[in-house]
């Protein structure tokens, strides 16, 4: 099927030519003020998107038909794996990931061109140039360095297949979700750079237009991180969900910056302050998304000796350097125009709480960055490779996160501009009491560790502030319109989606933080060796080993230990903890025996087994099990769901008439980009 591969290669090459044309046409069109040229650049982008879709289709067909003449297919597919994972192998390797990246960027580009053309047409040429330039880089990589369409003349009989650890539903959706987030950071970057280039007056509006896109990218990153944690927990069998691995940190850093931006942009909307800061955050978030790809794809940190195995890493670093230098140069050029007209009125105000919140998010991002690149940094500075690992992150990040937790409760209760002592007393009384009560109950229940007590008490306080905010809003509506409470609640959220969606996200974060605290501080584990019929205690559970069983399916031999779990005297569950051994010589994988309850997770992995001497019956073998009790993990997953709901509520377009007339006839999407000054009314 050399023809299909040629078609794929040609499509990528043609897409590259088209985006280069788009850059030239947009630059020229902006120079000579010819709208036709800009319009032709848009058409070129549409063409390149169609070509990329065709290229993706070629690869998908090759994967689905297991066409092993494609090197990429032979490397990531085999005859034994289910068809759905043949398709997810699209992003199972580097070349396919790059193609996915380019494809997602093409889709975003079309959407961004449409939205920007309606909201702020003067930014269109700049947005086209930036997005097309980023696309050109990825297409160049796909053409010259890492083509997914490389073929061999004689196809191998079977492919090498994917790592079995990746054959999992969570892993199937984790990479594309994360990519939607990563690539999504390019759009706010393009809008802000275009606004800076367009003129001193456009910058402010550009940052506000970028907000919505940043929100979407933030949402995708959140979900991607969440899916990744779930995969790590359910599949990898080590009992945790986060290892401070460079690849994980690479996704966490842009998420932190995006979170900071989502908060600080509110100050810009309401008070026209912090524009410079927001511009830098958008640039930083984009830079970190490219840096993250560099980290995951270059092997600079994962490998022990060699610096890079493929030229891709170096090229990414060069691209990153050029992008950051160019962006900072443009920002510096407009620096004076970005000056805020106002400044902070008082140290104790909503604004200063937001500023502090941003500083803390940046502090965490900085610490994560430092810890991630420490091996390389120390190598360059001292000639000695020094690793700081999880102990470093566990030491640095929690105190800052507690600071953010405090702000999450305090911020919404502080008045804009200047908070008065009387209003503070009135606002803090009930939530403060809630927090104190939580702390007192935990102390009375026998908890002595100061860290978790502090976190849970603060969570109680923050939950109190959120409930208070909802209650006040509902009461106000009831008083004004006489609506019954449930109606008032729904109407309240529907009318102020961003504000109350934000509170729902905060509530999700509370659950998440409680789950993380509970599972990282109070987790227990033990390793036991049991003969059939013997039992071992793990936390509140007793686990009895019944016997070993063997099953074969789809090229794998599964050895499973049948377990009966007792919670006190009550039989709670029958579980199987298993190891999967693959007949084609691939690495063995674990199937975790997992029982989740709101209180805790019982998490059992089969470490090994020894047949009873003298008996040929495998059922009588002794097994070694690792028993973990991880408290409150379920609340983490629940927190992710709540966060997702809150983010969707906050992102839904506001269903109310536009307040600012836009000259061009622009239905629907135009409202999204209109200045949102009055949105948080009624506080």
């Amino acid at each position: 099927m050399a023809g299909a591969a040629s078609l794929g290669r040609f499509a990528v090459l043609a897409a590259l030519v088209l985006v280069c044309y788009a850059i030239a046409a947009a630059v020229l069109g902006a120079r000579v003020r010819r709208a036709e040229l800009v319009a032709s650049a848009v058409r070129a982008l549409r063409g390149s998107a169609a070509l990329l879709a065709a290229a993706a289709l070629v690869l998908l067909v090759a994967l689905a038909t297991r066409d092993y003449t494609f090197q990429y297919v032979a490397a990531h597919v085999d005859d034994a794996q289910p068809l759905v994972y043949d398709l997810t192998a699209f992003w199972g390797g580097m070349e396919g990931s790059l193609l996915l990246w380019a494809l997602v960027l093409a889709g975003y580009t079309l959407a961004a061109v449409r939205a920007v053309g309606r909201a702020q047409p003067e930014l269109l040429p700049g947005v086209i140039v930036v997005l097309a330039a980023v696309a050109a880089f990825f297409l160049l990589m796909l053409t010259a360095v890492a083509s997914p369409f490389a073929t061999v003349p004689f196809a191998p009989l079977d492919g090498r297949g994917m790592n079995p650890l990746l054959l999992n539903p969570w892993m199937a959706i984790h990479p594309p979700t994360l990519y939607l987030g990563y690539v999504g950071l390019t759009v706010p970057f393009a809008i802000v750079i275009a606004a800076l280039a367009a003129g001193p007056s456009a910058a402010d509006g550009g940052v506000l237009l970028a907000r919505r896109w940043m929100m979407w990218a933030w949402y995708c990153l959140s979900m991607g991180l969440w899916f990744g944690a779930k995969w790590s927990y359910v599949v990898l069998g080590w009992g945790g969900y986060w290892a401070w691995d460079p690849v994980e940190n690479a996704a966490l850093m842009p998420w932190l910056i995006a979170t900071a931006f989502i908060h600080s942009v509110m100050i810009q909307e309401r008070r026209e302050m912090l524009t410079r800061w927001n511009v830098m955050l958008v640039i930083l978030a984009f830079a970190l998304s490219i840096f993250g790809t560099f980290l995951t794809r270059s092997g600079v940190l994962s490998s022990v000796h060699s610096f890079t195995q493929s030229p891709l890493g170096t090229l990414f670093l060069i691209f990153l350097g050029c992008a950051v230098v160019a962006a900072c140069a443009i920002a510096a050029w407009r620096w004076e125009a970005l000056r805020s007209r106002y400044e902070l009125d008082a140290a104790l105000s909503r604004e200063s709480a937001f500023v502090l919140n941003n500083v803390l998010f940046l502090a965490i991002a900085f610490a994560v960055f430092l810890g991630t690149v420490f091996p390389v940094l120390s190598d360059v500075l001292t000639g000695r490779r020094v690793n700081v690992g999880p102990p470093f992150f566990d030491h640095v990040v929690p105190p800052i996160a507690v600071g953010l937790l405090v702000l999450m409760g305090v911020g919404p209760l502080l008045a804009w501009r200047r908070a008065s002592a009387a209003s503070l007393r009135r606002n803090f009384l009930a939530p403060g009491a809630a927090g104190t009560a939580v702390g007192a109950v935990l102390l009375a229940a026998g908890m002595r560790a100061p860290g978790p007590i502090l976190v849970f008490a603060l969570a109680g306080f923050v939950a109190g502030t959120i409930v208070l905010e909802f209650a006040r809003g509902v009461q106000a509506r009831q008083a004004m319109r006489g609506e019954p409470a449930p109606v008032a609640l729904v109407a309240l959220v529907a009318r102020n989606r961003r504000r109350y969606g934000g509170y729902i996200v905060h509530f999700g974060m509370l659950l998440l933080l409680c789950g993380i605290t509970g599972s990282s501080v109070f987790a227990t584990q033990r390793v036991v060796t049991l003969a059939p019929g013997e039992a071992a205690a793990a936390g509140p559970y007793r686990v009895r080993y019944e016997g070993l069983e063997q099953t074969t399916a789809a090229g794998a031999l599964t050895i499973g230990a049948r377990l009966r779990v007792f919670d006190g005297a009550r039989e709670a569950a029958t579980l199987v903890a298993a190891r999967n051994l693959y007949l084609n010589g691939r690495d063995a994988t674990s199937s975790v025996a997992l029982r989740s309850t709101p209180r805790d997770d019982l998490y059992i992995t089969l470490v090994g087994w020894t047949p009873e001497s003298g008996s040929g019956d495998a059922g009588g073998a002794r097994v070694t099990l690792r028993l973990l009790v991880n408290p409150l993990v379920m609340w983490m997953w629940a927190g992710g769901l709540v966060l997702s709901v809150g983010a969707i509520v906050a992102m839904l377009p506001e269903a109310r008439p536009r307040t600012v007339p836009v000259p061009a006839p622009a239905p629907a999407l135009g409202a999204a980009a209109a200045p949102l000054a009055g949105e948080q009314a009624g506080q």
Binding site: G92, G93, M94, P156, N163, L165, L166, L236, G237, W238, G239, V247, R271, E272, R297, G299, S302, S303, V304, Q309, S310, R341, Y342, L344, A347, S352, L356, A363, F366, A367, L370, G371, P375, R384, R385, V386, N387, V388, G389, P390, P391, F392, F393, H395, V396, I400, R417, D587, A588, T589, S590, T605, V607, G608, W609, T610, T624, R626, A677, G678
Partner: protein, 149 residues
Amino acid sequence: MNPAHPPRAAGPLRARGRRTAVFATGTVAIVLSLAYLVYGGIQQGATYWVTVGELRQRAQALPPRVRLGGTVAAGTVRWDAGHRHLAFVITDGANTLPVRYTGVVPDIFAEGRQVVVEGGIARDGAFEATTLLAKCPTKYNPADPKPPR
């Protein structure tokens, strides 16, 4: 709904000065606490990265806890009966060192794989590892070996 803001530089000069002082103090406090946290974290978490050769040659000169990278030598992986204790030989191609480890072994651990172990040299000269990390071949996507002809 923006209230009418006072323009820049309004308000008595003394209040501005006090505000600036508050923010400056806050900034210094935050930077110092972050530096303190990072310093403490590095003290706790820092482990030197060494090769097998370095560790063999000058084990005394290195800190007690190091991070050792190398390849699992073929045919050297030994488990005890319960699959709890693992022993293998790590090599950098020229030098070798026996490694002992008790704990969770990653699924992708295998002979010929690159691994990173953390720990120190025990009395008997073997490396006593407390952490074992195996390099995932697919996730990081190193250069693929040439397909056999």
